[in-house]
């Protein structure tokens, strides 16, 4: 009758075979996602949660579009601008979309130069991204004011048809525009930190007191690409449908 408490090896336990091995590997100690910093993991999980928010908004918009009995205004006509005597549908939205997608490109370049520790280029590209984002919000403000003051669209009704058109439009683009504006503010903050060299010297960041490093540029980038991606869905489901 022996009491064998298991062999005291200093080797890792062998991985079990099959699916249990997959589980054991993925659930190994310390970190589930190896080499993923905390901030990045947090941003990813936040974005999943935010995806549910925007999905709920868009599904709700589609539901009320079906439930309302009034005709839905034609977005092509509502969002048309008269340029050089011609009425061009969705031209402003096309420009806005182009600008926002371009800003994703400059953001990606900023992340790249950030990891190469090229402070000046990263700074310029971050600022350019912020400028493109700000111009997007500016055009959105123009679009809103045109709808409100010239077309008479209000959240509770409009002359073209279903009241939900204005409600959903202001709510969804407003919520998205808020996301872009917050992004612009943080882009500027990160840009200044990059230029001052806070990320190289690992100077403690504002609010959190944590040391800075270039991961923050990539985390900022994740957020920014997400906001762009959401816009693509809003563009497809609200303006094109």
């Amino acid at each position: 009758m022996t009491q064998a408490i298991p062999a005291n090896t200093l080797e890792p336990l062998p991985l079990p075979e099959g699916i249990q091995g997959v589980v054991a590997d993925w659930s190994s100690d310390q970190r589930a996602f190896k080499k993923v910093p905390w901030g990045k993991a947090m941003m990813w999980i936040f974005l999943v949660s935010d995806t549910f928010i925007f999905s709920a908004f868009l599904i709700s918009y589609m539901t009320v579009r079906m439930s309302t009995t009034d005709p839905w205004p034609n977005p092509g006509e509502v969002f048309a601008l008269t340029l050089w005597g011609k009425k061009i549908p969705l031209i402003l939205i096309a420009i806005m979309t182009f600008i926002l997608i371009s800003s994703s490109g400059t953001m990606a370049m900023a992340v790249n130069f950030g990891y190469r520790k090229d402070r000046v280029k990263t700074f310029v590209l971050l600022l350019l991204t912020a400028a493109l984002g700000a111009s997007f919000v500016g055009m959105q403000a123009f679009e809103w004011s045109k709808l409100i003051f010239e077309e008479g669209v209000r959240p509770w009704g409009n002359p073209m048809g279903a009241a939900q058109f204005g409600s959903a439009f202001f709510m969804i683009t407003g919520f998205h525009g808020t996301h872009v504006s917050i992004g612009v503010i943080f882009l500027i903050i990160v840009a200044i930190k990059v230029l001052r060299g806070d990320l190289d010297h690992q100077r403690p960041g504002f609010l959190t007191g944590r040391k800075g490093n270039y991961e923050i540029v990539e985390i900022m980038g994740l957020y920014w690409h997400f906001v762009d991606l959401v816009w693509v869905f809003i563009f497809a489901l609200f303006y094109l449908w």
Binding site: M1, T2, Q3, A4, I5, P6, A7, N8, T9, L10, E11, P12, L13, V23, A24, W26, S27, S28, D29, Q30, R31, A32, F33, K34, V36, W38, A41, M42, I45, F46, V48, S49, D50, F52, I53, S55, A56, F57, S60, T63, V64, S67, T68, T69, D70, P155, W156, A162, A163, Q164, G166, S167, A168, M171, F175, L207, T208, G209, R210, K211
Partner: protein
């Protein structure tokens, strides 16, 4: 007999991340008020949640008084009654249970149990609490505005929630919705912390499959919350716009009080879908941490490893996943497509499978265990009873044909109070009795605890068991007073009186618990670091209560799972997680 431990190994991989930076505050305010220490934040969360929960307890008394003695109280008119019902439900479900389990127990236990210095983003964690507090304050403020708090029922169904005639339709509903939105913002900040801490900040050797089930429960519940609360946030924003700007997301064309309303074309059923897409996972946001905690309580106090650890983990994950595809079983009578009822009844009944696995495993853990009837253990066993009870009535309500006649009767009230109110709150009590020694360094008084348990447990049955019969008899819920009906027998009234008396007694006896908390804080028996001889890391800290940073100079290294109790051949009947196999003292006695 030869014993091969579950997965004990002397090997611990080298550290992958450097030590966490901690900002040690020096002033009293920095330590205890604007604190970034998860343990302090946990206590702040818990005290706030229990405080607002006591308000909800008093509200339930007022409801019960009206039901037992209709028209006897001048301060309860029909509007007040509806406001009490609404605020009681909302506070208990969201501001008490969600905040207490995730904000309270989550904050306290996650870093300690996974071997982390603190939450990964302590600053965000601090802000989370203060946003939660402001949400609670807004909720309290709604009691003092013109018209009082909203009386729309805790589900806040439109159109009635924002129509004139519903109590609180002017101010109350707006404060309620803003408060909910703030709660969600605050929770998201905390929730991101809990998830990332569990995923990315565990100590060496702490694999996911060595985590205590408490952490699995809280972790899964937090993920559910991060995915479910968005639907509530969106519906709150849309209803806020309906109420303030006159949009018509949820509002159809309505003639109210003889006047055509200003709304047209909205979809009230859309709100119900959004609400229950949040609302059903919410049940499991409360239940899963309770499942996890009760598993640990049973294992520790029965001195036996949890039966079927892996299955317990997978059951938690499966329940979490399934909880997202059952929401419309709350809407069988809402007028949705009947085929939906078929789908949602099927998914609902499938949830019974992982849930039953958990119940069997708890019972099999008790089987042949060295059961110690400590106060936490009594609450844990009490939980199993009430949970089975509430689960069985859930099978009734999950079936469309059985649900339709029982809808909106007292049977529903009895069911969800059994399964979602009493069962988790028993776990809350058990958990407080279990971890109070770690939080304060003193034991809670045993005799007071036993009185508290028996009154609460027996009293809860006295309240809710008869309510099932009222439901069968057809007594509707949320009614201010029932007069002039033929189908409800006279005896229903005497049953109502009995329920109210029981409710008053149970509620009043919670004072014993509060007194125990206060008295033991100053006079309780010093507990030492590990009064229950438990294996998990929070009991192995060098200081009790643990200091900022939790584990002193070096972080513990984990060599085994959390359930090495009564290991054959070992001298003590528990082997802490941070004891390497080579250092386990063998017993001289033959086994």
């Amino acid at each position: 007999m030869d014993y091969v431990a579950h997965d004990a190994s002397a090997y611990a991989p080298p550290a992958e991340v450097e030590e966490m930076e901690l900002y040690h505050p020096k002033t009293f305010v920095g330590k205890y008020i604007w604190s970034q220490d998860a343990k302090i934040i946990a206590v702040q969360y818990a005290v706030t949640a229990i405080g607002i929960g006591l308000v909800a307890l008093v509200l339930s008394w007022l409801m019960r008084l009206q039901l037992a003695f209709p028209n006897s109280f001048s301060f309860i008119d029909p509007s007040n009654y509806l406001q009490f019902v609404t605020q009681h439900g909302m506070i208990m479900v969201i501001y008490l249970l969600t905040a207490l389990f995730l904000g309270g127990f989550g904050n306290y236990l996650i870093p300690l149990m996974v071997g982390a210095r603190d939450m990964v983003f302590p600053y965000v964690n601090m802000v989370s609490y203060w946003v939660y507090l402001s949400a609670v304050l807004l909720l309290i403020a709604s009691f003092f505005v013109p018209g009082g708090p909203t009386g729309a029922g805790w589900t806040l169904y439109p159109p009635q929630a924002i129509l004139q005639g519903t109590p609180g339709a002017t101010w109350g509903i707006i404060l309620m919705l803003v408060s909910l939105a703030l709660f969600i913002v605050g929770f998201t900040m905390g929730g991101l912390n809990y998830v990332v801490t569990v995923l990315q900040a565990r100590t060496r050797g702490m694999t996911l499959m060595r985590m205590p089930l408490t952490i699995w429960g809280i972790f899964t519940a937090t993920i559910l919350a991060l995915l479910a609360f968005p639907a509530l946030l969106v519906s709150a924003i849309m209803m806020l716009l309906d109420a303030t700007l006159g949009t018509s997301f949820f509002m159809p064309a309505i003639v109210s009080m003889g006047q055509q309303g200003g709304h047209a074309g909205g979809s009230p059923v859309l709100f119900q879908h959004l609400f229950w897409f949040f609302g059903h996972p919410e049940v499991y946001i409360v239940a899963l941490p309770a499942f996890g905690i009760v598993s640990d309580l049973i294992s520790v106090h029965a001195r036996k490893n949890i039966f079927g650890y892996r299955m317990m983990v997978w059951a938690i994950v499966a329940i979490g996943g399934l909880s997202f595809v059952v929401w419309a079983h709350h809407m069988y009578v809402s007028g949705m497509n009947p085929y939906f009822g078929f789908f949602f009844a099927t998914t609902t009944l499938i949830i019974a499978v992982p849930t039953a696995i958990k119940v069997y495993n708890w019972i099999l853990t008790l089987w042949h265990g060295n059961i110690r009837l400590t106060v936490p253990m009594m609450f844990a066993i009490g939980f199993i009873f009430t949970f089975i009870n509430g689960g069985l009535t859930g099978l009734f309500l999950g079936n469309v044909t059985v649900d339709v006649p029982l809808s909106d009767t007292m049977f529903v009230v009895a069911h969800f109070h059994m399964v979602m109110a009493i069962a988790p709150i028993l776990v809350v009590f058990g958990a407080i009795y279990h971890w109070y020694p770690k939080i304060t360094g003193r034991m809670l008084n045993d005799s007071l605890g036993k009185i508290h348990f028996w009154v609460t447990f027996v009293g809860s049955y006295a309240i809710y068991y008869p309510m099932h019969y009222l439901g069968f008899a057809g007594v509707p819920r949320r009614y201010y007073a029932i007069e002039g009906t033929n189908f409800i027998p006279e005896s229903a009234q005497s049953l109502n009186v009995a329920i109210t008396v029981a409710a008053l007694i149970v509620g009043a006896f919670q004072v014993v618990f509060l007194y125990n908390l206060l008295w033991s804080y100053f006079r309780g028996k010093p507990s030492g670091g590990n009064p229950w001889n438990a294996t998990t890391l929070e009991w192995q800290t060098p200081d009790t209560p643990p200091k900022h940073g939790n584990f002193g100079a070096t972080l513990p290294v984990v060599y085994r799972w959390a359930y090495d109790y009564s290991v054959p051949g070992a001298e003590q009947d528990f082997i802490p997680q941070n004891v390497p196999p080579g250092e386990v003292t063998r017993s001289s006695a033959r086994t």
